[in-house]
Protein backbone atom coordinates (compact mmCIF):
# COMPACT_ATOMS: atom_id res chain seq x y z
CA UNK A 1 0.00 0.00 0.00
CA UNK A 2 1.52 3.31 -1.03
CA UNK A 3 1.99 6.20 1.32
CA UNK A 4 -0.81 8.01 -0.49
CA UNK A 5 -3.21 5.16 0.06
CA UNK A 6 -2.31 5.12 3.70
CA UNK A 7 -2.94 8.82 4.00
CA UNK A 8 -6.30 8.46 2.26
CA UNK A 9 -7.27 5.65 4.55
CA UNK A 10 -6.23 7.56 7.63
CA UNK A 11 -8.01 10.70 6.52
CA UNK A 12 -11.18 8.79 5.69
CA UNK A 13 -11.11 7.02 9.04
CA UNK A 14 -10.80 10.33 10.83
CA UNK A 15 -13.72 11.78 8.90
CA UNK A 16 -15.85 8.76 9.68
CA UNK A 17 -14.98 9.01 13.34
CA UNK A 18 -15.92 12.67 13.41
CA UNK A 19 -19.33 11.75 11.98
CA UNK A 20 -19.91 8.76 14.22
CA UNK A 21 -22.74 10.49 16.03
CA UNK A 22 -24.76 11.08 12.90
CA UNK A 23 -27.76 8.74 12.74
CA UNK A 24 -28.32 6.37 9.87
CA UNK A 25 -29.16 6.61 7.03
CA UNK A 26 -27.81 10.17 6.88
CA UNK A 27 -24.41 8.98 8.03
CA UNK A 28 -24.17 6.51 5.22
CA UNK A 29 -25.28 9.13 2.73
CA UNK A 30 -22.61 11.51 3.92
CA UNK A 31 -19.81 8.98 3.87
CA UNK A 32 -20.62 7.26 0.60
CA UNK A 33 -17.81 7.51 -1.94
CA UNK A 34 -15.58 9.29 0.56
CA UNK A 35 -12.47 7.35 -0.32
CA UNK A 36 -13.16 7.85 -3.98
CA UNK A 37 -13.30 11.63 -3.58
CA UNK A 38 -10.17 11.65 -1.50
CA UNK A 39 -8.38 9.63 -4.15
CA UNK A 40 -9.42 12.07 -6.84
CA UNK A 41 -8.19 14.98 -4.74
CA UNK A 42 -4.95 13.24 -4.00
CA UNK A 43 -4.41 12.65 -7.70
CA UNK A 44 -4.28 16.35 -8.37
CA UNK A 45 -0.81 17.40 -9.33
CA UNK A 46 -1.17 20.85 -7.92
CA UNK A 47 -2.73 20.78 -4.48
CA UNK A 48 -4.04 24.32 -4.22
CA UNK A 49 -5.15 24.90 -0.69
CA UNK A 50 -8.66 26.22 -0.41
CA UNK A 51 -9.58 28.89 2.05
CA UNK A 52 -10.71 26.21 4.46
CA UNK A 53 -7.34 24.57 4.44
CA UNK A 54 -5.34 27.65 5.18
CA UNK A 55 -5.69 27.81 8.95
CA UNK A 56 -5.35 24.06 9.35
CA UNK A 57 -2.28 23.62 7.20
CA UNK A 58 0.78 21.94 8.60
CA UNK A 59 2.77 24.42 10.60
CA UNK A 60 5.86 24.13 8.48
CA UNK A 61 4.00 24.97 5.33
CA UNK A 62 2.74 28.41 4.48
CA UNK A 63 -0.30 28.26 2.19
CA UNK A 64 0.71 29.51 -1.18
CA UNK A 65 -2.24 29.54 -3.59
CA UNK A 66 -0.22 30.59 -6.53
CA UNK A 67 2.50 27.98 -6.48
CA UNK A 68 2.05 25.48 -9.22
CA UNK A 69 3.74 22.16 -9.54
CA UNK A 70 5.15 22.05 -6.03
CA UNK A 71 4.86 18.54 -4.69
CA UNK A 72 4.06 18.11 -1.06
CA UNK A 73 5.01 15.23 1.16
CA UNK A 74 2.26 12.58 0.99
CA UNK A 75 1.28 13.04 4.60
CA UNK A 76 0.19 16.60 4.11
CA UNK A 77 -1.35 16.85 0.69
CA UNK A 78 -4.89 16.00 1.73
CA UNK A 79 -4.78 18.20 4.80
CA UNK A 80 -3.46 21.18 2.89
CA UNK A 81 -5.98 20.74 0.16
CA UNK A 82 -9.07 19.87 2.19
CA UNK A 83 -8.34 20.96 5.72
CA UNK A 84 -8.15 18.67 8.69
CA UNK A 85 -10.44 15.64 8.67
CA UNK A 86 -12.40 17.18 11.49
CA UNK A 87 -12.86 20.41 9.56
CA UNK A 88 -13.84 18.42 6.48
CA UNK A 89 -16.39 16.48 8.48
CA UNK A 90 -17.79 19.65 10.02
CA UNK A 91 -18.10 21.31 6.63
CA UNK A 92 -19.76 18.24 5.14
CA UNK A 93 -22.16 18.03 8.01
CA UNK A 94 -23.01 21.73 7.88
CA UNK A 95 -23.64 21.71 4.14
CA UNK A 96 -25.88 18.68 4.51
CA UNK A 97 -27.82 20.19 7.37
CA UNK A 98 -27.08 17.85 10.23
CA UNK A 99 -26.65 19.47 13.60
CA UNK A 100 -23.12 19.78 14.80
CA UNK A 101 -22.24 17.71 17.82
CA UNK A 102 -22.13 19.55 21.10
CA UNK A 103 -18.86 20.03 22.85
CA UNK A 104 -18.27 17.08 25.15
CA UNK A 105 -21.13 14.80 26.03
CA UNK A 106 -24.46 14.88 24.34
CA UNK A 107 -27.29 15.74 26.63
CA UNK A 108 -29.81 13.11 27.50
CA UNK A 109 -32.44 15.00 25.57
CA UNK A 110 -30.33 14.88 22.44
CA UNK A 111 -29.73 11.18 22.85
CA UNK A 112 -33.38 10.46 23.38
CA UNK A 113 -34.28 12.52 20.35
CA UNK A 114 -31.68 10.62 18.37
CA UNK A 115 -32.99 7.23 19.37
CA UNK A 116 -36.63 8.16 19.02
CA UNK A 117 -36.16 9.90 15.70
CA UNK A 118 -37.51 7.92 12.75
CA UNK A 119 -33.97 7.17 11.59
CA UNK A 120 -32.81 6.18 15.06
CA UNK A 121 -35.89 4.19 15.81
CA UNK A 122 -35.72 2.23 12.62
CA UNK A 123 -32.04 1.50 13.21
CA UNK A 124 -32.66 0.24 16.73
CA UNK A 125 -35.74 -1.69 15.67
CA UNK A 126 -33.91 -3.17 12.73
CA UNK A 127 -31.05 -4.40 14.88
CA UNK A 128 -33.44 -5.77 17.49
CA UNK A 129 -35.38 -7.57 14.81
CA UNK A 130 -32.19 -9.08 13.41
CA UNK A 131 -31.21 -10.32 16.85
CA UNK A 132 -34.61 -11.88 17.47
CA UNK A 133 -34.42 -13.51 14.08
CA UNK A 134 -31.16 -15.20 15.05
CA UNK A 135 -32.78 -16.89 18.02
CA UNK A 136 -35.99 -17.91 16.33
CA UNK A 137 -34.86 -21.30 15.01
CA UNK A 138 -33.52 -22.24 18.44
CA UNK A 139 -36.90 -21.38 19.95
CA UNK A 140 -38.64 -23.59 17.39
CA UNK A 141 -36.58 -26.58 18.53
CA UNK A 142 -37.06 -25.80 22.21
CA UNK A 143 -40.80 -25.29 21.96
CA UNK A 144 -41.19 -28.56 20.05
CA UNK A 145 -39.27 -30.38 22.76
CA UNK A 146 -41.38 -28.75 25.49
CA UNK A 147 -44.57 -29.71 23.71
CA UNK A 148 -43.38 -33.31 23.54
CA UNK A 149 -42.52 -33.27 27.25
CA UNK A 150 -46.06 -32.09 27.91
CA UNK A 151 -47.43 -34.90 25.72
CA UNK A 152 -45.30 -37.47 27.53
CA UNK A 153 -46.62 -36.13 30.81
CA UNK A 154 -50.15 -36.83 29.63
CA UNK A 155 -49.26 -40.22 28.25
CA UNK A 156 -47.01 -41.60 30.97
CA UNK A 157 -48.49 -39.59 33.83
CA UNK A 158 -44.97 -38.61 34.77
CA UNK A 159 -42.43 -35.96 33.79
CA UNK A 160 -39.79 -37.28 31.45
CA UNK A 161 -37.16 -35.61 29.30
CA UNK A 162 -36.11 -38.55 27.17
CA UNK A 163 -38.13 -40.89 24.99
CA UNK A 164 -38.99 -44.14 26.70
CA UNK A 165 -40.26 -46.06 23.73
CA UNK A 166 -40.16 -46.11 19.96
CA UNK A 167 -43.48 -44.32 19.84
CA UNK A 168 -41.98 -41.61 22.03
CA UNK A 169 -39.13 -41.19 19.57
CA UNK A 170 -41.55 -40.83 16.65
CA UNK A 171 -43.58 -38.28 18.57
CA UNK A 172 -40.44 -36.32 19.47
CA UNK A 173 -39.16 -36.16 15.90
CA UNK A 174 -42.56 -35.39 14.42
CA UNK A 175 -43.42 -32.59 16.83
CA UNK A 176 -40.03 -30.90 16.59
CA UNK A 177 -40.11 -31.09 12.80
CA UNK A 178 -43.63 -29.69 12.86
CA UNK A 179 -42.55 -26.83 15.11
CA UNK A 180 -39.68 -25.90 12.79
CA UNK A 181 -41.93 -26.12 9.73
CA UNK A 182 -44.52 -23.92 11.40
CA UNK A 183 -41.87 -21.40 12.35
CA UNK A 184 -40.48 -21.26 8.82
CA UNK A 185 -43.92 -20.89 7.34
CA UNK A 186 -44.85 -18.18 9.79
CA UNK A 187 -41.68 -16.31 9.04
CA UNK A 188 -42.10 -16.52 5.30
CA UNK A 189 -45.79 -16.28 4.74
CA UNK A 190 -47.29 -15.21 8.00
CA UNK A 191 -48.43 -18.70 8.93
CA UNK A 192 -51.85 -19.84 7.89
CA UNK A 193 -53.21 -16.35 7.78
CA UNK A 194 -55.55 -14.36 9.89
CA UNK A 195 -55.46 -13.00 13.39
CA UNK A 196 -57.09 -16.07 15.01
CA UNK A 197 -54.14 -18.16 13.87
CA UNK A 198 -51.67 -15.59 15.11
CA UNK A 199 -53.46 -15.35 18.44
CA UNK A 200 -53.40 -19.12 18.88
CA UNK A 201 -49.74 -19.23 17.96
CA UNK A 202 -48.91 -16.44 20.40
CA UNK A 203 -50.81 -18.14 23.22
CA UNK A 204 -49.11 -21.43 22.42
CA UNK A 205 -45.66 -19.85 22.45
CA UNK A 206 -46.32 -18.10 25.74
CA UNK A 207 -47.71 -21.27 27.30
CA UNK A 208 -44.67 -23.30 26.28
CA UNK A 209 -42.34 -20.57 27.50
CA UNK A 210 -44.19 -20.70 30.81
CA UNK A 211 -43.75 -24.46 30.90
CA UNK A 212 -40.04 -24.04 30.35
CA UNK A 213 -39.79 -21.70 33.31
CA UNK A 214 -42.05 -23.75 35.55
CA UNK A 215 -40.66 -27.17 34.73
CA UNK A 216 -37.92 -27.30 37.36
CA UNK A 217 -40.28 -26.48 40.20
CA UNK A 218 -43.43 -28.23 38.98
CA UNK A 219 -41.90 -31.48 37.93
CA UNK A 220 -38.80 -31.57 40.07
CA UNK A 221 -36.96 -32.31 36.87
CA UNK A 222 -33.57 -30.81 36.12
CA UNK A 223 -33.61 -30.68 32.33
CA UNK A 224 -29.88 -31.13 32.20
CA UNK A 225 -30.22 -34.40 34.05
CA UNK A 226 -31.47 -36.70 31.36
CA UNK A 227 -33.88 -39.31 32.66
CA UNK A 228 -36.28 -41.81 31.13
CA UNK A 229 -39.90 -42.28 32.14
CA UNK A 230 -39.28 -45.41 34.13
CA UNK A 231 -36.98 -43.86 36.73
CA UNK A 232 -38.03 -40.20 36.66
CA UNK A 233 -39.69 -40.07 40.07
CA UNK A 234 -40.34 -42.49 42.89
CA UNK A 235 -43.97 -42.56 41.81
CA UNK A 236 -42.93 -44.13 38.57
CA UNK A 237 -41.21 -46.96 40.32
CA UNK A 238 -44.31 -47.72 42.30
CA UNK A 239 -46.53 -47.45 39.25
CA UNK A 240 -44.51 -49.97 37.31
CA UNK A 241 -44.67 -53.37 38.93
CA UNK A 242 -41.28 -54.55 40.09
CA UNK A 243 -40.35 -57.54 38.01
CA UNK A 244 -37.18 -58.23 39.83
CA UNK A 245 -36.05 -58.36 43.36
CA UNK A 246 -33.84 -55.31 43.76
CA UNK A 247 -31.25 -57.09 45.93
CA UNK A 248 -30.66 -60.47 44.43
CA UNK A 249 -31.94 -59.84 40.94
CA UNK A 250 -33.95 -63.06 41.19
CA UNK A 251 -37.37 -62.89 39.59
CA UNK A 252 -40.00 -62.17 42.20
CA UNK A 253 -41.45 -65.61 42.67
CA UNK A 254 -43.35 -67.06 45.53
CA UNK A 255 -42.20 -70.61 45.08
CA UNK A 256 -40.35 -73.02 42.82
CA UNK A 257 -41.67 -76.54 42.06
CA UNK A 258 -38.86 -78.74 40.78
CA UNK A 259 -39.73 -81.87 38.75
CA UNK A 260 -37.55 -84.69 37.57
CA UNK A 261 -37.13 -85.39 33.90
CA UNK A 262 -39.78 -88.02 33.89
CA UNK A 263 -42.30 -85.70 35.49
CA UNK A 264 -42.04 -86.72 39.10
CA UNK A 265 -42.34 -83.87 41.60
CA UNK A 266 -39.22 -83.44 43.73
CA UNK A 267 -38.98 -82.09 47.20
CA UNK A 268 -36.29 -80.73 49.41
CA UNK A 269 -34.28 -79.54 46.38
CA UNK A 270 -31.57 -77.13 47.44
CA UNK A 271 -30.91 -74.33 44.94
CA UNK A 272 -27.87 -72.02 44.78
CA UNK A 273 -26.90 -69.20 42.45
CA UNK A 274 -23.62 -68.98 40.42
CA UNK A 275 -21.68 -67.56 43.33
CA UNK A 276 -22.84 -70.25 45.69
CA UNK A 277 -25.37 -68.18 47.49
CA UNK A 278 -28.64 -69.87 48.34
CA UNK A 279 -31.51 -68.74 46.19
CA UNK A 280 -34.12 -67.07 48.33
CA UNK A 281 -37.47 -65.96 47.06
CA UNK A 282 -39.89 -63.28 48.18
CA UNK A 283 -43.16 -64.94 48.92
CA UNK A 284 -44.09 -61.88 50.98
CA UNK A 285 -44.50 -59.90 47.76
CA UNK A 286 -47.31 -62.24 46.86
CA UNK A 287 -49.04 -62.17 50.16
CA UNK A 288 -47.56 -65.48 51.28
CA UNK A 289 -45.11 -66.52 53.94
CA UNK A 290 -43.13 -69.55 54.89
CA UNK A 291 -45.05 -71.91 57.08
CA UNK A 292 -42.98 -72.22 60.22
CA UNK A 293 -43.51 -75.37 62.28
CA UNK A 294 -43.53 -74.37 65.90
CA UNK A 295 -41.70 -77.49 66.92
CA UNK A 296 -38.79 -78.85 65.04
CA UNK A 297 -36.14 -77.12 62.95
CA UNK A 298 -37.31 -74.25 60.82
CA UNK A 299 -37.54 -74.97 57.08
CA UNK A 300 -34.48 -74.35 54.96
CA UNK A 301 -35.07 -71.18 52.96
CA UNK A 302 -33.59 -72.55 49.75
CA UNK A 303 -35.15 -75.99 49.88
CA UNK A 304 -37.82 -76.12 47.21
CA UNK A 305 -40.71 -76.33 46.98
CA UNK A 306 -41.30 -74.06 49.96
CA UNK A 307 -44.10 -74.74 52.26
CA UNK A 308 -46.11 -71.53 52.15
CA UNK A 309 -49.30 -70.25 53.66
CA UNK A 310 -51.26 -67.07 53.45
CA UNK A 311 -49.94 -64.19 55.43
CA UNK A 312 -51.25 -63.97 58.98
CA UNK A 313 -53.15 -60.95 60.30
CA UNK A 314 -49.93 -59.68 61.80
CA UNK A 315 -48.92 -58.15 58.42
CA UNK A 316 -47.05 -59.25 55.31
CA UNK A 317 -43.85 -57.32 55.57
CA UNK A 318 -42.47 -58.82 58.72
CA UNK A 319 -39.38 -60.87 58.27
CA UNK A 320 -39.64 -62.46 61.68
CA UNK A 321 -42.65 -64.14 63.22
CA UNK A 322 -44.90 -61.84 65.18
CA UNK A 323 -48.16 -63.72 65.24
CA UNK A 324 -46.78 -66.76 67.05
CA UNK A 325 -44.42 -65.66 69.74
CA UNK A 326 -43.76 -69.20 70.85
CA UNK A 327 -42.13 -70.05 67.50
CA UNK A 328 -38.47 -69.31 66.86
CA UNK A 329 -37.37 -66.84 64.12
CA UNK A 330 -35.98 -68.15 60.82
CA UNK A 331 -32.43 -69.29 61.05
CA UNK A 332 -30.06 -68.51 58.24
CA UNK A 333 -29.94 -71.15 55.50
CA UNK A 334 -26.89 -73.40 55.45
CA UNK A 335 -24.00 -72.26 53.31
CA UNK A 336 -22.49 -74.83 50.96
CA UNK A 337 -19.10 -76.23 51.68
CA UNK A 338 -16.50 -74.66 49.40
CA UNK A 339 -15.55 -78.00 47.82
CA UNK A 340 -19.03 -78.79 46.64
CA UNK A 341 -20.10 -77.40 43.27
CA UNK A 342 -23.77 -76.32 43.39
CA UNK A 343 -26.11 -77.17 40.55
CA UNK A 344 -25.16 -79.54 37.78
Amino acid sequence: MSAMDEEIEAYAAAVRAALADVPEPDRETLLADLEQHLTEVAAESDPTPTRAAAPAAAPALAPDPGSAGRSLPPGERLVVRLGSPEAYAAELRAAYGVEAPGRGRRSMADLRALVLSPAGRSAVAGRARDLVGEFQPTWWLIRGYLLVIALWRLEHRTWATMPGSLLDVFVLVAVIAGSVALGLRTRRRGGFGGSPFRAVLAIGNVALAGLLLALPSVAGVDLLNLVSPASATPDAVAAVPADRNAETGVPSLANIFPYSRDGKPLSGVLLYDESGKPITLSPEDHGLEVDQPCDGPPPIANAFPLRLRDVTEAGPETEEETGRPECAPITPSPAPRPSRTPGG
Binding site: T29, Y88, R93, A95
Partner: protein, 111 residues
Protein backbone atom coordinates in the same frame (compact mmCIF):
# COMPACT_ATOMS: atom_id res chain seq x y z
CA UNK B 1 -15.78 41.19 3.01
CA UNK B 2 -15.46 37.50 3.49
CA UNK B 3 -17.09 35.75 0.56
CA UNK B 4 -17.57 32.52 2.48
CA UNK B 5 -20.64 33.96 4.11
CA UNK B 6 -22.06 35.01 0.76
CA UNK B 7 -21.25 31.64 -0.65
CA UNK B 8 -23.20 29.82 2.01
CA UNK B 9 -26.33 31.59 0.86
CA UNK B 10 -25.94 30.90 -2.83
CA UNK B 11 -24.14 27.59 -2.97
CA UNK B 12 -27.38 25.76 -3.66
CA UNK B 13 -28.06 28.11 -6.53
CA UNK B 14 -24.54 27.74 -7.87
CA UNK B 15 -24.65 23.93 -7.73
CA UNK B 16 -28.05 23.85 -9.44
CA UNK B 17 -26.77 26.20 -12.11
CA UNK B 18 -23.71 24.04 -12.80
CA UNK B 19 -25.88 20.94 -13.03
CA UNK B 20 -28.24 22.74 -15.37
CA UNK B 21 -25.43 22.89 -17.89
CA UNK B 22 -24.83 19.19 -17.58
CA UNK B 23 -24.94 16.24 -15.20
CA UNK B 24 -21.85 15.66 -13.12
CA UNK B 25 -20.34 13.80 -10.19
CA UNK B 26 -19.03 15.26 -6.94
CA UNK B 27 -15.43 15.99 -7.80
CA UNK B 28 -16.40 17.17 -11.25
CA UNK B 29 -18.91 19.67 -9.86
CA UNK B 30 -16.28 21.10 -7.51
CA UNK B 31 -13.90 21.55 -10.42
CA UNK B 32 -16.51 23.25 -12.58
CA UNK B 33 -17.47 25.63 -9.79
CA UNK B 34 -13.86 26.56 -9.30
CA UNK B 35 -13.32 27.08 -12.99
CA UNK B 36 -16.31 29.36 -13.13
CA UNK B 37 -14.59 31.64 -10.66
CA UNK B 38 -15.81 30.48 -7.26
CA UNK B 39 -12.39 29.43 -6.08
CA UNK B 40 -13.02 29.30 -2.40
CA UNK B 41 -15.73 26.67 -2.33
CA UNK B 42 -14.79 23.69 -0.19
CA UNK B 43 -15.12 20.14 -1.51
CA UNK B 44 -17.03 19.01 1.52
CA UNK B 45 -19.52 21.85 1.12
CA UNK B 46 -20.25 20.82 -2.44
CA UNK B 47 -20.64 17.15 -1.56
CA UNK B 48 -22.89 17.93 1.37
CA UNK B 49 -24.99 20.28 -0.78
CA UNK B 50 -25.34 17.70 -3.55
CA UNK B 51 -26.58 15.11 -1.11
CA UNK B 52 -28.93 17.51 0.58
CA UNK B 53 -30.42 18.58 -2.73
CA UNK B 54 -30.80 14.94 -3.69
CA UNK B 55 -32.48 14.13 -0.41
CA UNK B 56 -34.82 17.09 -0.93
CA UNK B 57 -35.82 15.64 -4.28
CA UNK B 58 -34.28 18.19 -6.61
CA UNK B 59 -31.80 15.83 -8.24
CA UNK B 60 -31.69 12.49 -9.94
CA UNK B 61 -28.70 10.26 -9.45
CA UNK B 62 -27.35 7.34 -11.39
CA UNK B 63 -24.18 5.31 -11.43
CA UNK B 64 -21.92 5.25 -14.43
CA UNK B 65 -19.53 2.35 -14.80
CA UNK B 66 -16.00 3.33 -15.65
CA UNK B 67 -13.32 1.26 -17.30
CA UNK B 68 -10.30 2.75 -15.65
CA UNK B 69 -11.63 3.49 -12.23
CA UNK B 70 -14.47 2.95 -9.80
CA UNK B 71 -18.10 3.52 -10.69
CA UNK B 72 -19.12 7.14 -10.34
CA UNK B 73 -22.36 8.49 -9.01
CA UNK B 74 -23.70 11.21 -11.29
CA UNK B 75 -26.27 13.83 -10.35
CA UNK B 76 -28.64 15.65 -12.65
CA UNK B 77 -31.52 18.08 -12.35
CA UNK B 78 -35.05 16.79 -12.39
CA UNK B 79 -38.20 18.87 -12.81
CA UNK B 80 -38.22 19.89 -9.19
CA UNK B 81 -34.58 20.91 -9.45
CA UNK B 82 -35.20 22.98 -12.53
CA UNK B 83 -38.11 24.70 -10.86
CA UNK B 84 -36.04 25.37 -7.77
CA UNK B 85 -33.24 26.77 -9.91
CA UNK B 86 -35.58 29.16 -11.70
CA UNK B 87 -37.12 30.25 -8.46
CA UNK B 88 -33.82 30.77 -6.67
CA UNK B 89 -32.37 32.60 -9.66
CA UNK B 90 -35.27 35.04 -9.58
CA UNK B 91 -34.77 35.59 -5.88
CA UNK B 92 -31.05 36.13 -6.31
CA UNK B 93 -31.45 38.57 -9.17
CA UNK B 94 -33.99 40.61 -7.28
CA UNK B 95 -31.83 40.62 -4.17
CA UNK B 96 -28.70 41.58 -6.03
CA UNK B 97 -30.51 44.40 -7.78
CA UNK B 98 -31.76 45.69 -4.45
CA UNK B 99 -28.27 45.66 -3.01
CA UNK B 100 -26.91 47.33 -6.14
CA UNK B 101 -29.48 50.07 -5.83
CA UNK B 102 -28.58 50.50 -2.21
CA UNK B 103 -24.94 50.87 -3.12
CA UNK B 104 -25.71 53.42 -5.77
CA UNK B 105 -27.57 55.47 -3.24
CA UNK B 106 -24.77 55.06 -0.73
CA UNK B 107 -22.18 56.11 -3.20
CA UNK B 108 -24.22 59.11 -3.65
CA UNK B 109 -22.88 59.44 -7.09
CA UNK B 110 -25.42 61.24 -9.10
CA UNK B 111 -24.65 62.45 -12.36
Amino acid sequence: MDTTQLLKGVLDLAVLAVLDRGDGYGYDIVRRLRESGIEEVGDASVYGTLRRLFKAGALNSYVVASDEGPHRKYYGLNDTGRATLADSARTWTAFARTVDDLLDDAKGSHP
